[in-house]
Symmetry: C2
């Protein structure tokens, strides 16, 4: 591989260009002739499959059933809940023609599916015995984004899991929204090694039509916050608009309490941005399409002993359930292969040359540290597993350390402003007045990201923006 | 359950109404306010998940990688291959607006993805070392159908697996199309218990832009053929239109040989129609969302011993990996539950009452035959497994018997006509002249379905339509 086929900018120098090269050259995604839409290439889609593979059983165990509702939503359904309509229509793709004929009614590509799912629940739900009901779709949603797009992070076609639930009581629905946001947080930390903060959105930033929205946010290396999953208490608003009712235990028709929550492939973008280095992606093992690559180092007349050894190592590691590839492609040098797999973020590389075979050992190379470890054949399986675990743990602790270091406790607006300038975010008190959010945005460039759970606000704490009594601590920062 | 909540027509009397009730009341799908689009409800979507779960590893083992290309295809890509354009545009949904703005170029909802995938391959592929390449999408496709829609069988939004491949030689591409159609046939027979015939489409019925199309067809109880999967040799047509080239071993740029193949959720419709009975769906165990349901028969003061026993049976069967449900819902009679699970097609029901517990046995009821088998506790696991296997085998052999009985060997047009009237299809010789297909359609109502593989045509065999020398035996029949 010639130098210019690798990543040509440093992450610290130009993270935006670095990210784009990392995504494209690592085979995760690419731009297409369709404006604002990317193709999810094998590596990128496989990461998503692995996320689905981890999360789908968690949803099922929680009583969630997978379904698929129509992509196309008639305009009259989308407009039925006024706040929701106002929130989404500016960004909707409209289908107006079928074949040569204009359609009788415009159809929106779903920006989210509350309206169509609640319409059907209005028809299906009868009794308290039907509740709770929980539907999930692993699907795509569409938003005609006018902002700059960025693969995985912001685009017009987004892969996600969207879950919708209906409950007999508000208390149950509230519990559901908390369950969801914690499930998302746990998942992202456990398999993507991405630490997140959890909390509630300020009112100005909640889902269109929700009573409130919970979220998880991750902090990117450039100090921007990445909203990575949200969970909404919809209460009765949609139930009233769409007639979602049931007969309760007292035999009275009553509106159901609704929630919805979603986790998108944004988390893949966040994961790539946080863990990657100047050579490209670094993948946590649980979501790495290839966890271990074996590269034979072949010299003339020594091919057979090397190929025999790598073949054996390959089949033995595969038996343990690892995603392992033997790169025996001809016509490429070992060095070219090293770079290729490094760009793709493969956690561990095993190099096997004639001398290694003679010494009955293998050279194991860690993608994150570059550390080389000579491993005797008989300890290979155990060492590979151990190093994969270590790599995950190191990625997570490094990212958490960064999150801690880049979180500034601020009590004055100037401190928030400085935090943003320093590519950090600030945790600072807020009075709850929307006007203060606007003021903060103008003066510091920061937006409220989350009101974290479990905070303890001291008495007489003052809002950083207006100096009035604060109601909450809030994370302030720029966002993606 | 009152009688009218069950299936209210007999399958033999009105298969169309029976099918609709079976699909809706079994929880597989329902109509929505979006014309021609259904919602895939939990039972229907779960069947599809189980099909994906069986087939995805087969694709992966064959070297297929999953990806996702944009749903929206710019008009200029769709028009680039003339035959393809002519074949698809009359049925395309067009997106013409984004938010309040008209789009610069109309975007089609993908009817299939050759055009966008080949565009990107034109950019990515470089060397013979990149070949073969195989991409699959588990996704939805859209056709603005003007014909009557029928859940799963024909609709405007279709779930499917679409695979696209590029190869260095025509021979390899031809081998690929055969691999695919056989993989589809094997899958459908092995997990859906639906026997199919395999063969080649006549030229008039091939995919728009293909050199030829292979297919599998299943025979429905009303004698109509259901196309259930297709595989296309695209040869160079798309490669030329989209510039899909590679440098071969002689260092010359040359066009790749392309194929595409697809399997849709039509197979779910065929499976429901073939195996179902007057009580609703009958599901083969491999795709049954619930394979075994346990219904406690509770009498006053005997609740505890029954509930203890069913709880224990439930957890023991679950441990074996079976999809088993304990229906301990309150407020429903056992009879209501029996009907409910029968409509959903659950293969085996276990009834457990106080006397069963005393006798240390369970009453096992087969969904397909209604047969009741008293099974001692200690033999339950083995018997359940055995009866599930038997049920599958019986469904398949019954369907194959029907396929054989409803296949008429015909040498004259009148025989084909009679076969169609008798709700059968006919295997009859054909000269290859498209005019004869039109004649057959007018005179008999039948269309050519497939030219089966491995046929032996006797010399001097005459076309049923024109009496000229025949080239092939062809299945003739009505189709869905």
């Amino acid at each position: 591989m010639s130098e210019d086929l690798g990543i040509t900018v440093k992450k610290d120098t130009d993270i935006s260009e670095w990210y784009q090269q990392t995504v494209i050259k690592g085979g995760f995604a690419d731009y297409t002739p369709v404006k604002g839409m990317i193709v999810y290439r094998p590596n990128g889609y496989r990461v998503w499959e692995l996320i689905m593979g981890e999360f789908d059983p968690i949803l099922k165990a929680h009583g969630v059933q997978n379904v698929l509702f129509p992509l196309l939503i008639p305009e009259n359904l989308l407009t039925r809940e006024a706040d929701h309509f106002a929130g989404f229509t500016p960004e909707v793709f409209w289908v107006t023609r079928g074949g040569d004929q204009p359609l009788e009614e415009k159809l929106a590509l779903r920006p989210t599916s509350e309206t169509i799912i609640h319409t059907m629940w209005g028809k299906w739900l009868q009794s308290h015995r039907d509740l709770p009901v929980r539907f999930n779709q692993w699907c795509t949603v569409y938003r005609h984004e006018t902002k700059m797009t960025k693969p995985f992070i912001r685009g017009r076609e987004v892969l996600w899991s969207e879950t919708h639930t209906a409950h007999a009581t508000k208390q149950e629905a509230e519990k559901e929204t908390e369950w969801a946001i914690n499930a998302y947080g746990d998942l992202v930390e456990r398999i993507l090694a991405v630490p997140v903060v959890r909390g509630r959105k300020t009112d100005s930033d909640k889902f269109a039509g929700a009573e409130y929205t919970l979220g998880i946010e991750a902090l990117m290396p450039d100090g921007r916050a990445l909203q990575s999953g949200t969970s909404h208490l919809l209460s009765h608003k949609f139930a009233e608009a769409f007639g979602v009712k049931f007969v309760n235990e007292d035999k009275k028709w009553t509106h159901a309490w609704m929630t919805s929550y979603g986790l998108s492939m944004r988390v893949i973008g966040g994961m790539l941005m946080i863990h990657g280095d100047d050579k490209g992606a670094v993948l946590p093992p649980k979501v790495a399409p290839v966890q271990v690559v074996i590269v034979p180092i072949v010299f003339k007349e020594k091919e057979k002993i090397v190929n025999d050894a790598t073949g054996k190592i390959h089949s033995e590691l595969k038996k343990t359930g690892l995603r392992v590839v033997l790169d025996d492609r001809e016509g490429y040098t070992a060095g070219w292969k090293f770079n290729d797999w490094e760009m793709q973020g493969v956690p561990l590389r095993l190099e096997v040359g004639p001398r290694d075979v003679e010494a009955k050992s293998v050279m194991l190379v860690r993608r994150d540290t570059g550390q080389k470890i000579k491993v005797p054949f008989e300890k290979l399986k155990a060492t590979v597993k151990k190093e994969l675990d270590r790599l995950h743990a190191r990625l997570f602790s490094k990212a958490r350390e960064s999150l801690v270091q880049k979180t500034v406790n601020a009590t004055r607006m100037g401190e928030v402003k400085k935090a943003v300038e320093d590519q950090k975010w600030a945790l600072a008190p807020y009075c709850g007045n929307v006007a203060c959010e606007a003021k903060m945005k103008v003066e510091t460039g920061a937006e409220p990201r989350l009101i974290p759970f479990g905070q303890k606000l001291l008495k007489d704490t003052r809002c950083v923006a207006c100096g009035e009594e604060a109601t909450d601590l809030v994370y302030w920062g720029k966002s993606y």
